[in-house]
């Protein structure tokens, strides 16, 4: 065994952490640079603009927004404080737009590479299956955070342009300073991003089942819609606390004073459970399957 061989064997056994980071960086750049991803982010950024303009037009005559409590959460408070547009936009996008975007990116993660015939090369380029899967999942999670922040920042800009900012009233009726409000908005964005962890793992698992990226995306989004419908059927209430979208809107509890943690903790626990179960299932499938594309 030559000296070089020993070095190489060592590299194979204990891969350089920088190489993992390099893989992650290249994955991130590839994902974000795709036209599809940019279009998804564009749609997400447009939602707060639409909501903001609609509320502005509706309340031009001085009437209250939201028609007496209809529409997404917080919509009637937007006219008091533009910061509420952040919460309204997240409440409007969380049930569907955000998870759909995540489903598209997650579903494409493995199946898209397989469909394009590049999965083999990724594995040959000594990535290792487990490491590649983890990198893919980390990329999808980064996209969850990016998508949420795009909505939040777009909403904050629109809210600042169209509505007054300043001290805000929590939904419990107490007042908090604008700085604390901003802090809570950031916390809410993080919680919303964390709410998508479950659907991301589900999408990744589906993605390891097929070699067609489109099929994986369609299945993930289809599952999302099905689960959302099941979550609305009152006869199935015994099942609902275990469905991943069930506690999604609990992020609104962060706007109570004091914060009501019960449902928030349940939501985060449920997301962690989905991530563990479907992440492990994706690992079992991906490390055992024949890669021929």
């Amino acid at each position: 065994m030559s000296r070089a061989d020993v070095l190489l064997a060592g590299a194979g056994r204990r891969p350089n952490p920088l190489w993992t980071l390099g893989l992650l960086r290249s994955e991130l750049v590839t994902t974000v640079r795709r036209w599809r991803t940019l279009a998804l982010l564009g749609v997400l950024a447009a939602v707060p603009v639409l909501v903001g303009i609609a509320v502005k037009i509706e309340t031009r005559g001085g009437g209250p927004a939201g028609g007496g409590g209809e529409g997404p959460a917080f919509i009637s408070q937007i006219t008091n404080n533009g910061l509420f547009l952040v919460f309204t936009a997240l409440a409007a996008t969380l049930p569907f737009f955000l998870p759909m975007a995540v489903g598209v990116v997650a579903g494409d993660a493995i199946a898209g590479e397989a469909g394009a015939g590049t999965l083999r090369y990724l594995l040959v380029a000594p990535a290792g299956r487990t490491r590649l899967l983890l990198t893919k999942y980390a990329t999808v999670l980064a996209f969850c955070l990016l998508a949420t922040l795009v909505v939040a920042v777009s909403a904050l800009l629109v809210g600042a342009l169209l509505f007054p900012l300043g001290e805000l009233t929590t939904i419990s009726g107490t007042r908090i300073s604008f700085a604390e409000g901003l802090g809570r908005a950031l916390l809410i964005a993080l919680v919303v991003a964390a709410s998508l962890v479950g659907v991301a793992a589900l999408g990744l698992f589906v993605s390891t089942l097929t070699n067609s990226g489109i099929a994986a995306m369609a299945t993930t989004v289809g599952l999302l819609i099905t689960v959302q419908i099941v979550d609305q059927i009152p006869q199935l209430h015994a099942l609902q606390p275990y469905l991943f979208p069930h506690y999604w809107l609990s992020f609104a509890d962060l706007m109570r004073d004091p914060v009501y943690w019960d449902d928030l903790v349940k939501n985060l626990g449920l997301q962690a459970l989905y991530a563990a179960v479907f992440g492990a299932a994706a690992w079992a499938r991906f490390t055992a399957k024949d890669i021929n594309a």
């Binding site: 190489l8 064997a9 590299a11 194979g12 056994r13 891969p15 309340t59 209250p64 927004a65 939201g66 007496g68 409590g69 997404p72 959460a73 917080f74 009637s76 408070q77 006219t79 008091n80 404080n81 409440a91 594995l123 040959v124 380029a125 000594p126 290792g128 299956r129 487990t130 490491r131 007054p164 805000l168 009233t169 939904i171 419990s172 009726g173 107490t174 007042r175 809107l249 609104a252 509890d253 109570r256 004073d257 009501y260 459970l273 563990a276 179960v277 479907f278 492990a280 299932a281 690992w283 079992a284 499938r285 490390t287 055992a288 024949d290």
Partner: protein
Amino acid sequence: MAPYESDDAVGAARDEHPRSGRRKAARYAVPVAVVGVAAATIGLVPALADSGDPDLPKISAQQLIEKIATSDVQQLSGTVKISTDLGLPDLGGLENGLMSGAGRGGSGDGSSADPQAKLTELVSGTHTLRVAADGPDRQKLSLLESGAEYSLIRDGKDVWGYDSKSNEVYHSTGAGSGKDREAEPPATPKDFADQALKSVDDTTSVTVDGTAQVAGRDAYKLLIRPKQSGTTVGAISIAVDAKTGMPLKFTLTPSSGGAAVLDAGFTQVSFARPAASTFAFTPPKGAKVTEGKDAPGAREHAPKHGEDFAGGLAGKDGLKVLGKGWTSVATFDTGAKGGLPTGSQGGDLGGFLGSLGDPVSGKFGKGTVFSTRLVNALITDDGKVYAGTVTKEALVKAADAGK
């Protein structure tokens, strides 16, 4: 060893082996194990957390009732979970609409922040409330809704109702201090316990039924049972905090068995002084503010809700009470001959209403009984109403006797 042969690649290479099928299948044990562990955790943790009943010095029922009576908790904050299951037909949104409509009553232009309109929602379903109090002048009661909250804040003379969902504010100024507390419908375990203890007399057996842990505090359980037969009330159990004498949990089970009709208990409670900002309220910019009528008007309406639960309806205009104790039946004459438009007379709506009740007849004539799991009401064809926390048979007997 080639560089790309990481541990995973080795596994993949061995997959060529005949035994590889089993190795592949074994990997799926990991997600299955995760599900198993999660299911076990969900099932076991509540059982383990229930660390048995606390050891407390013995106390007599009389001492415990005195403890409640002398309890003087001025400062507290906590979360209350309240579930009501009256067995009303589930009409979904319609029911809610009717309830709030009825709650609004004659006040005309009702604001959605009007306490009367809002708190009648508590009559059905499960709700989470937050309560905070600092002395007799400052209280706050919040009804937690999905993505919104309804708060009723009392700060000195001002009573504010704030509905964050519609961004509407209700404001009234009560003259006296403390008295206006009665204007709020009962929502906390203490409110219900006070109502229940009012009805304790010789028709009731009161015992101490061991101890329990409620909201992480040691509590005595007070069990109130009617001695009479014919009432729909099975038992009332009140968990009383051993230290402060404050009722922490109130459970009313019907004599027909099954789930509790009313279950209100703290899930979290603290007897520290709440932050002053909790009770400070300024209407947010752009909120619609409705000025309420004077508080005495509101006070007149309110106790209705509470007394329904306690079964005592005495002292109302045109209202007579037949019998005593738990089997007392309230009766009043609506004056409307023909009573309720049932089946044959009332057309579609009458048929619908009639189908909700059971037709009965007796010496009093004919009528329709409307049943819930707690309160039964008989509306006779000559327009008399009998209602109480009694069984259908007892109601007919009372109507016969009252004739």
